[in-house]
């Protein structure tokens, strides 16, 4: 019995030890289990929240882009009006063919000619639509800017006239050439607009402007006689030529002024001239119909199809100052012929 009793005591001791070990393992297992499940639940909710945030960002970006497209279409059709639009405080990036918010990008169609800085930030967007006539209506240019962009006209040539044409909502200033070294940094992005300046490289900016980032200051120089615009970038206290492009009419000068860079400007004027070729084809066909209707009459000699075909050929080809000047002379010729048609009470070509 004793032995048995002794065995039983031994068994009980072993049992107690086993139980205590099992208890420890069980408690530890419980904690490990809770920890694993807790981490899994946290990971699940964490990833869910991250995904929701990403989705919400994409939705917001999509909404901004859709609204921007609507704004662009709306503003495009209401010419010569400036509209101030409240926008979300997100960076909207523009290029000639694309508009993007964050990672979301959308195409700007070939018929939309939008002159805008590369990046638009802030709560107010200013849209200004200009109609481009050569001499018939070809397209509307949409200029985008914000009050943080300041356009400084250097008073010479057509500066005053163009300065006056700018709506008052646009941050603008006009200064005499001698006044350039006195221009101080106001925290705005600055765009200098020179007219027929022989060498903007010789202009020295104030020390205040010199300290501003080179990306925040740029300039254009309009050379009226040759339909040429020079684009300048800031380098310290001086301007450095980055390239040249052509222009046809004041809306294109304003387009260059609102453009973020030379590449976007060139791409946009290519779109404009492509549209000119299409619209000229329409007017050419229209003139053809009128020519057939008035064959043999007094109006007939004034219906000149060659002008339209010349404009079409030139606007389809490479766009440079030479081709633009040639188109301009065709336009003047067309204006004369149209005036003659008017004087003979004939239906006009445009």
């Amino acid at each position: 019995m004793l032995n048995i009793f002794g065995l039983s005591i031994l068994l009980k001791k072993q049992d107690y030890k086993m139980k205590s070990k099992k208890g420890v393992i069980s408690i530890q297992f419980n904690w490990i289990f809770i920890l694993i499940i807790g981490v899994l639940i946290l990971l699940f909710f964490g990833s869910f929240v991250v995904k929701l945030k990403n989705n919400s960002d994409i939705t917001i970006a999509n909404t901004i882009i859709t609204n921007m497209q609507t704004i662009m279409t709306g503003a495009e059709v209401s010419t010569k009006t400036i509209t101030s639009i409240k926008i979300p405080d997100r960076e909207i990036r523009f290029s000639c063919d694309f508009i993007s918010v964050g990672d979301v990008e959308d195409e700007i169609t070939k018929n939309k000619i939008v002159f805008s800085p590369e990046s638009i930030k802030g709560r107010t967007l200013l849209t200004w639509a200009l109609d481009w006539n050569t001499p018939y209506h070809v397209s509307n240019f949409l200029c985008l800017t914000t009050p943080s962009y300041k356009y400084i006209f250097i008073n010479s040539g057509d500066a005053q006239e163009l300065y006056n044409s700018l709506p008052s909502k646009i941050t603008k200033d006009i200064v005499n050439p001698e006044g350039i070294p006195n221009i101080k940094d106001t925290g705005n992005y600055l765009k200098f607009v020179f007219f027929n300046n022989p060498k903007p490289e010789d202009v020295t900016l104030s020390s205040s402007i010199k300290s501003v980032s080179d990306k925040e200051v740029s300039a254009i120089n309009v050379i009226s006689g040759t339909n040429k615009i020079e684009f300048y970038e800031k380098e310290g206290a001086k301007f450095k030529l980055s390239g040249t492009a052509g222009y046809l009419g004041d809306p294109m000068i304003l387009g260059a002024m609102f453009s973020g860079n030379l590449v976007d400007y060139k791409c946009n004027i290519e779109k404009a001239f492509n549209k000119l070729s299409i619209v000229s084809r329409i007017y050419g066909k229209r003139t053809e119909y009128l020519q057939d209707l008035y064959a043999g009459g007094v109006c007939m000699p004034y219906y000149d199809l060659s002008i339209f075909s010349d404009i079409i050929t030139k606007s389809k080809g490479e766009i440079n100052t030479g081709s633009i000047q040639s188109i301009e002379s065709d336009i003047n010729n067309l204006k004369l012929k149209n005036e003659n048609l008017q004087s003979y009470s004939c239906p006009t070509m445009y």
Partner: protein, 174 residues
């Protein structure tokens, strides 16, 4: 505990294991219910989201249709210039000769106009005096759902210098 202290060790361990198993099942059951609830929540949320995406899609489609109609009605290729002042573009006025010319131009520049109008049908109909109907652009997506917009326009005939009443029909396909 009392039962356990007066009984041999084997049944006691068995009972403890059973209790632990019950506890484990309890925990697993709680977790299961928890995940089922989450799954229900997710299904509900995704359904709500799907409905909202469908609504937004419809809204965008309507918006696109309005944009297309707006684009057509202000198209320089169609607009007539005022007979008195050539640079003034007539509001909601189409030149009859331009309408005829545009049909051919669109055929030659289909890619350009597809970017503008997408899947849509654009027609101009002379209402008074009853006259012609011009199909300017026609590209169907093959889907039946469409948004139709009608805009009253003036059709100007440059040779007779007469104005006719017309309607611009814009059908945008989804």
């Amino acid at each position: 505990m009392r039962i356990c202290s007066h009984t041999p060790a084997q049944p006691c361990i068995k009972m403890k294991t059973k209790k632990a198993q019950i506890k484990m099942f309890e925990t697993i059951a709680v977790l299961l219910i928890f995940f089922i609830l989450i799954a229900f929540g997710l299904i509900f949320y995704s359904k709500v989201q799907r409905d909202s995406i469908q609504d937004t899609g419809k809204e965008y489609f309507e918006l696109k249709a309005i944009q297309t109609a707006q684009l057509v009605s202000f198209l320089p290729e169609l607009q007539c210039t005022s007979p008195t002042s050539v640079n003034i573009v007539g509001d909601a006025c189409f030149d009859a000769f331009k309408i005829i010319a545009l049909k051919d131009i669109i055929e030659d520049n289909y890619g350009y106009y597809f970017d503008l109008f997408g899947f849509s049908k654009i027609t101009v109909e002379q209402i008074y005096p009853l006259g012609k109907k011009w199909v300017i652009y026609n590209k169907s997506s093959g889907k039946s759902s469409k948004s139709s917009l009608q805009i009253p326009v003036l059709i100007y005939n440059a040779s007779s210098r007469e104005n006719y009443f017309g309607v611009l029909n814009v059908d945008v396909y989804e």
